[in-house]
């Protein structure tokens, strides 16, 4: 497909669509006055990021993203919103800090990052522009997690156990209170 003399591939169309979903839903997450809608839009953002992972040859991470983030974290956040339901009335309009100042700060940050990204010279000695599909699949991730990164992997399981116990202790109803 040609647009304005440029060759447009299907992958580029897919990238633009996924990036649009991701960024558009992220803007909604931030600006939506109703926190429940914001949480649901966060799910859309996370699905868009999972699509980007697929485009970057990381199918395992896309699956992890869907299962842990969309299936787990979003559900947990929505449950927390239901458990503290008066929160839903707190919205963007009640922001005490100056939203224009915040937008200026975030915009400046983005401009700085964008200029840096665009002006950087990435080392391009690439002869074959075909993606290297060997060594990016599930087997490669498993081998990496159990060989060079086995210590952080085990540490992560300890962290998860501590979090499990800690979350129960913190959220548990105080028997002296009731």
């Amino acid at each position: 497909m040609h647009i304005l003399g440029h060759m447009i591939t299907g992958y580029q169309v897919a990238f633009v669509a996924l990036a649009g979903i991701t960024v558009g839903a992220a803007v909604g997450v931030v600006l939506m006055p109703n926190i429940l809608r914001a949480a649901l839009l966060l799910g859309a953002t996370l699905v868009g990021v999972a699509g980007l992972f697929v485009l970057m040859n990381a199918p395992f991470l896309a699956a992890v993203q869907i299962m842990v983030y969309v299936g787990g974290i979003t559900t947990m956040i929505i449950l927390a919103i239901f458990l503290s339901n008066r929160v839903m009335k707190i919205g963007f309009s009640q922001a005490i800090y100056n939203p224009i100042l915040a937008a200026g700060a975030a915009g400046t940050m983005f401009l700085f990052l964008f200029v840096t990204v665009v002006n950087s010279v990435w080392i391009k000695n690439a002869v074959n522009l075909e993606p290297n599909k060997s060594g990016v699949g599930v087997e490669a991730v498993a081998a990496a997690l159990l060989q060079p990164y086995v210590f952080p992997f085990e540490l992560a399981s300890v962290v998860l156990l501590a979090v499990l116990v800690g979350a129960v202790v913190i959220a548990k109803e105080d028997p002296h209170d009731a």
Binding site: Y11, L42, A58, M76, V117, W122, Y149, G166, I170
Partner: protein
């Protein structure tokens, strides 16, 4: 590094990551409710994940480090969300609100 993967240069992914991070930063500054701030933190963590996976995939030598680190980031994000929401629920039970500016129980 590969010049492009499927015709997409690496700078496109980095730009999306930068946009997501700055949107999260903006949300962090304007939200008052603790859950809204947690949502913004998730956005910023995802921006970092996009950059990690992008650099991992575009390197000419196949490296899995980017993906492995992203797995750890996702794990810790889940942990952070669990603890954060437990604290939010506990604070709501104590104070009947989760406005981050009015939580002053630990103030001197």
């Amino acid at each position: 590094m590969h010049e492009s993967l499927y015709g997409i240069p690496v700078s496109w992914y980095l730009t999306v990551g930068a946009m997501l991070f700055c949107i999260g930063l903006f949300g962090m500054m304007i939200r008052r409710s603790a859950i809204g701030m947690l949502l913004s933190i998730e956005l910023m963590l995802n921006a970092a994940n996009i950059n990690l996976v992008a650099f991992g995939s575009y390197l000419k030598l196949p490296t899995i480090a980017g993906q492995a680190f992203t797995v750890f980031v996702i794990t810790l994000a889940a942990a952070e969300a669990a603890i954060g929401l437990a604290i939010v629920i506990n604070i709501y039970r104590l104070e009947q609100h989760i406005d981050a500016d009015k939580i002053t129980a630990m103030k001197l």
